[in-house]
C-alpha cells in the first residue's frame, strides 16, 4: 500500500481533550476521529489494527470450540422485560421506539438475546455444553464518555455465553475460557492482571477480571508485593491485623481481665474523629480510632438470604419474584447493623454479597432513629436487638472497646465482644487498603488503578430461570441449565496495547497487531531508489508481509517522524547513497535506536523472518 493512497491524516498537535497516551496517539497517528462525544470512527490505519485484535480473539474462541453467531444489535425490549433488566439497566441502556410503538434496545450486552436463541433450540442434554459468541457492536450511554475509545459509548465487544448441565461442566468451560483470554492478551502484547472475585484460598472462583494497569482506570486493584494475589478492592480480602476470636466463648475468656462496660457522656460527639479527640487516653493523647467499634445501619434491597430466624425480621415478608441472583424468593427491603473497627471502612460490595442482596446503602436518619432509638452517631452492638447485627472480623479481636450506647450523647467503654455482645453473622466486610497484609501470604498489599479489558463470569441460573430455559436430561427429566458469560472489549484492548507500547515519538506496535509490518521509506522516491523500493515492496508482499511504502514527496525528516508516530515495527530506508556496489538498505526496528545496513537482495527474507518470529 502506498502511503499517499492510505488516508493516514497524522497530526502534529495533540487534541485538547486527549488526556491519555492512547487517545492522543490514536488521533495523532490518524487512526481515529471523533463523530460525537463518545462516538469514534476508525480510519483505515486504526481499523487495520482493530481487525487484527478481532482476528486474534476470533481464532482463540474458535480454537476452544466456541461457535460464532450474529444476533442483531437492535433487540426487542420484550427480552429485557422477561429477564427483569428492562428496569434494572437504567439510563445507560439506549432505547428506541419503532414506528409501531414497540420498545427496542441498542444492545449494551446480550445475555437476553443469546438466552432467547438457545431457549428455542435446546432440547436434550446431548446439546450441552454449548458456547456461543459474537463480535458485535454494543452501546452504553455513558454519562461521561472520555479517554477516547477507552470509555466510549459505542464499542465492539466479543461476548460469549455458555450453557451447561452441571457445575463441573461450567467450571471446565470457565477455565478453558480463562486460558483463551490469557492467550489473547499475550498475543496482543498486553500485560494483564488477573483478578478473581474471591481469594484463591476460598476455592472455586465465580468471576475473573482481566485488568491492565492504568492511571485513569476505573477499578482499584489490591495487589501483593510478595505473591501474585490480585483482587478488585470491591472484593479484596486481607490477613487480619488483630487477634481474631473465632468464637464468642473464646472471646469471652479473653475479656475476663476487662472491666465491666460503663456509660460515658459524650455530648454532641458523633463521629469517630470527634470521639478520638474527646476521649483522652491516660497520657492525655487522643484515643485511636482502632479502639472504637463503628456501628452503621444499612438498608438492603432484594435480600435472598433467609432471615426468618434473624433478630427483628420475624414479620418481614418474602416476595416470590425472580429478583434473586439465583432466581429465589427475596425480601424486598431489610435493615442491618454492621459493626466494624473504627479505623476501617465497610465494603458495601462485600456486604451485599454476604447478604445475597440486590444492593445496600446507608439507612436514612429516620430509619436509624427508629431502629436504634437514638440519632445517627450513637449506634452500637450492645443491646441492639431491633435488627440483625453483622460483625466484621475486626470486631472479634476487640475486648476493651468504645461504642455508641443507643442513646443520644452517650457511649459505652470497656465493651468486649463475646461478653457484652455477639453478632448474628460474622463476615469479612472491610475495605482493604494499601499497607494491609495479603490474605494468602501475609505480604504487604498495594493499590493500582486498573481498567477492565475482559471479564469471565459464572452467571448460574439468573437468565435461564427467569427466561425459562430447559432441556431433558439422560433420564428424560426437565432441567434448567447453568450459564457462564465471557466478555472482552475490543476498542479498550486496542487502546491498552498503545498504552503499554509507546514512547515519546509515537506508537511502538507489537508485530501481531501492527497495521503494517514494514514501512519502506525511500529518500526521494524516484530513479533507482524507486525501482528498488517498489521491488522490495512486491517481494515482501509476496511473502505475506504487509508493507506501507512512503511514496510521498516529503522530506526524510517528515517521513521518519510519521513512521515513528504510526509505529510500524520495521523501517526500511532506501537511499541512493547505499546503492553503489552491492545495494544495501537500512533496517531499523521501531523499538530500537540503532539501524543497520543489510543487503537489499536479502532484505525480504530477513524481514519475513522477523515478521513471522
Amino acid at each position: 500500500m502506498n502511503y499517499s493512497s492510505a488516508f493516514i491524516p497524522t497530526l502534529r498537535e495533540v487534541p485538547a481533550d486527549a488526556v491519555i497516551a492512547s487517545h492522543r496517539l490514536m488521533f495523532r497517528a490518524g487512526m481515529l476521529r471523533k463523530l460525537a462525544n463518545g462516538l469514534f470512527a476508525y480510519l483505515p490505519l486504526g481499523f487495520r489494527s482493530f481487525r487484527k485484535v478481532e482476528r486474534i480473539i476470533r481464532e482463540e474462541m474458535d480454537a476452544i470450540g466456541a461457535l460464532e453467531i450474529k444476533p442483531t444489535v437492535v433487540v426487542p425490549g420484550e427480552l429485557w422485560k422477561e429477564s427483569g433488566r428492562w428496569d434494572a439497566m437504567g439510563e445507560e441502556m439506549l432505547r428506541a421506539k419503532n414506528r409501531l410503538g414497540g420498545d427496542f434496545v441498542i444492545s449494551p450486552t446480550a445475555e437476553e438475546a443469546f438466552t432467547a436463541i438457545v431457549r428455542d433450540e435446546l432440547s436434550s442434554y446431548r446439546q450441552l455444553p454449548l458456547t456461543l459468541y459474537q463480535i458485535n457492536t454494543k452501546y452504553r450511554d455513558e454519562i461521561r464518555p472520555r479517554y477516547g475509545v477507552m470509555r466510549g459509548r459505542e464499542f465492539v465487544m466479543k461476548d460469549a455465553y455458555s450453557w451447561h448441565g452441571d457445575d463441573e461442566s461450567l467450571d471446565k468451560t470457565y477455565r478453558t475460557m480463562g486460558e483463551a483470554y490469557r492467550r489473547i492478551f499475550k498475543r496482543c502484547g498486553l500485560t494483564v492482571i488477573s483478578v478473581t472475585a474471591d481469594s484463591g484460598a476460598m476455592g472455586g472462583s465465580g468471576s475473573e477480571e482481566f485488568m491492565v494497569e492504568s492511571e485513569i482506570g476505573d477499578n482499584t486493584l489490591i495487589l501483593c508485593r510478595r505473591c501474585d494475589y490480585a483482587a478488585n478492592v470491591e472484593k479484596a480480602g486481607c490477613k487480619p491485623d488483630f487477634i481474631p476470636r473465632p468464637s464468642p466463648d473464646c472471646a469471652r475468656s479473653a475479656a475476663a481481665e476487662t472491666a465491666p462496660y460503663e456509660k460515658i457522656d459524650t455530648p454532641a460527639v458523633k463521629t469517630i474523629d470527634a470521639l478520638c479527640a474527646f476521649i483522652k487516653n491516660g497520657d492525655g493523647s487522643a484515643a485511636s480510632a482502632r479502639e472504637f467499634i463503628k456501628t452503621l445501619i444499612y438498608r438492603a434491597v432484594n435480600v435472598e438470604m433467609d432471615l426468618s430466624a434473624a433478630p427483628g425480621c420475624a414479620r418481614l415478608e418474602r416476595k416470590n419474584a425472580a429478583e434473586g441472583a439465583n432466581g429465589g424468593a427475596v425480601y424486598p427491603e431489610a435493615f442491618f447493623a454492621v459493626a466494624i473497627r473504627g479505623d476501617l471502612d465497610v465494603n458495601e460490595a462485600k456486604l451485599a454479597a454476604a447478604l445475597k442482596a440486590g444492593g445496600v446503602g446507608l439507612a436514612s436518619d429516620s430509619d436509624v432513629v427508629r431502629l436504634t432509638g437514638a440519632p445517627v452517631g450513637f449506634a452500637g452492638p450492645v443491646g441492639l436487638d431491633a435488627l440483625p447485627v453483622i460483625l466484621d472480623h475486626s470486631v472479634t479481636g476487640m475486648n476493651d472497646a468504645i461504642t455508641g450506647a443507643l442513646a443520644k450523647d452517650l457511649h459505652y467503654r470497656h465493651v468486649a465482644y463475646g461478653r457484652d455482645f455477639e453478632g448474628w453473622m460474622i463476615e469479612d466486610l472491610r475495605t482493604v487498603k494499601a499497607g494491609d497484609r495479603c490474605p494468602l501470604c501475609g505480604g504487604e498489599l498495594y493499590e493500582k488503578k486498573g481498567n477492565e479489558l475482559g471479564h469471565i463470569f459464572k452467571l448460574g441460573y439468573k437468565y435461564t430461570r427467569s427466561m425459562r430455559v430447559s432441556y431433558l436430561d439422560e433420564h428424560g427429566k426437565s432441567c434448567v441449565p447453568t450459564m457462564g458469560s465471557y466478555g472482552i472489549g475490543l476498542d479498550r484492548t486496542l487502546a491498552s496495547i498503545i498504552e503499554e507500547h509507546h514512547d515519546d515519538a509515537g506508537i511502538v506496535w507489537p508485530m501481531s497487531v501492527a497495521p503494517y509490518h514494514v514501512i519502506i521509506v525511500p529518500i526521494k522516491y524516484g530513479g533507482n531508489v524507486k525501482i528498488l523500493a517498489d521491488s522490495l515492496a512486491a517481494e515482501l508482499e509476496a511473502r505475506g508481509v504487509e508493507v506501507l511504502l512512503d511514496d510521498r514527496d516529503e522530506r526524510p525528516g517528515v517521513k521518519f517522524k510519521d513512521a515513528d508516530l504510526i509505529g510500524i515495527p520495521c523501517r526500511l530506508v532506501v537511499s541512493e547513497k547505499n546503492l553503489e556496489g552491492v545495494p544495501k538498505v537500512e533496517l531499523k526496528r521501531r523499538g530500537e535506536t540503532e539501524s543497520r545496513l543489510i543487503e537489499a537482495a536479502k532484505a525480504a527474507d530477513e524481514l519475513a523472518a522477523i515478521v513471522q518470529a
Copy 2:
C-alpha cells in the same frame, strides 16, 4: 468440526411465514432464527456463509484500493439535520434520544457520517480521489418486513463512498466499482441483471443497479428478448410504436388532411374507458384508447429546472435552498400538465427526473379546477396556458385525437398536434410495459420482478455542498468535490445465493460461500470407520479444506437428509463395506445424483483439488 458440536438445529417442518425458498431453507438448515419481526440471528452455520460473502466483498473492495473504516452504527442526528435528511427520511429511520436529550440515528445509510469524516480531513487535491467503505450494521424500520433476511429491519451493508476533483475521476471509480461488483456477484455464484438508470443510447449513466430475478422482487425490470437491454421500469425507455413527429411544423403538415377540431358533448363522461364506450366509431364499435390524449395535472416539489420562461410560472418564486439534487435553487412548488396517449401511463419517476424535481404527484381536485377551469376529467392541451404543458413523445404522433375541452362535459375531436397545440417540453414519460419495443434494438420487451442487491450511484454534490466539504486545487482555489456512493446488502446477497442454488432437498452451495466444503458421513461412527473418518478429516483440514464430520449417532438416512439440506458441496461417505482390500470412500457432489468410489488414500488430494478449483 464435529457435527454434534456445531449447533446446527435443522428442522423438518417449514416455518409458517416462510414464503420464499431462501427464507424456508435458512430456517430449516439451522442457519437463521427470528428474534422479532424483521430481526434475525445467524446461527453458526449461517454465519459461516455470511462471513464468506463478507470476505469476498472485502477482498474485491481492497483490490480496487477502497479503504475500510468503521464509523459508529449510532450516529448523531445533527449530521442528518445538516444534510437535510433528518426530515426527509421519515419513519423508516430509527431514532433514539440519549440520556442528555440528544438526537441519534441508528444508521440506515452513511453518506452523512462518511462526509463528516472526510470534511475534517480533506485539504488538498492530492488526497483525491478517495474511496472509503465499511461493512457494518444498518437499520431501516421497514413497515412490513418479510421474506426473512431478504427484507429485514436490521441488516449488514457494504457501503462505499468516493470523493473526486472532477467528473472524469468519478466516472473512473464508478466504472471500477461496477467491475468489482460484477466480480463479487460472480464469485458468489449469482446471476445478476445490471440495470442502468437511463438507456445506454443516452451515453454516460449515473446509476447502476445489480438485480437478481425474484418472484417477490420489489422492482419491476424491463428486459429485451433480443439484446441485453435492462432497465428498472421507473426509468425504462422504449422505441415509439407510432410515427414520431420531431417538430410541430412537421406535425402540422401531417395534419393537413384532418378536419378542424370541434366540440362534442360528453355529459358526465370523465374517464378514458367511459369515453371509449361513449364515442362510437363509424361501425358502432367503441373507440380505442389510442385515439385519446390523456391530460393529467401534476404538482411537483423542489423543482430545480429553470421555469422563468414557462407558461403560467412568471410569478413563481425560487428558493435559494440547497434542496436541489445539485445544490441549486429550487421552486418549492409548481404545477404541470402532462399529455400522453390514452392507452399509456405516465411514469412519475421519469417526470420528476425530466423536471429535476424532488417529487411529483397528481394535483388536488381544487388545483385542477383552478388551473384548467374545469373539473377533473376535462383537461386537454388545446388552449391550456395557465401552466406548462409537457407532451409525452406519443402525443407527437397524433393528428386526429380526442381531448378534454377545458370545460365540464365537453371534449374536442379532430385535434392535431402542431396544428392545434404545442408543448412546452416534449419528453419520454411513458411507463414501459411488456410487449413494448426495445429502445436499443427494437426487440420485444418483457417484465421480470427483481430484487436489488447492489447499487452504484453518482451522487454529485448533494452532500458535499450541503455539508460544506471543500479542498484546495492545484492553484490554491477552494473547490467542492463530487461524490459517488456504492452499496451491497450482504444478507440479501446471501439469501439470493440460496434462491439461485437450491433443489427440493435443500441448499446447493457454490463452493465459494459454502459453510463447509466437505461433509464426511460415517455409516456408524466407530471402529475402523471412525479411524478412517477422523484421519480423512485431519488430512483435509491440514490442506485448508473445511470439514464437517457427522459424528452423530443417527441413521444414515437422517445424516444424508441433513447433508443435502445444509447443502455442503462434497459428501464423503465412509462405510465398513468399502474398507476391505484397498479402502475406498464414496464421493458425491451435492449438485450431482451419482456418487463414485475413490481410494481413501487419494481422497484428500482429490477433494482439495475440487475445493480449490
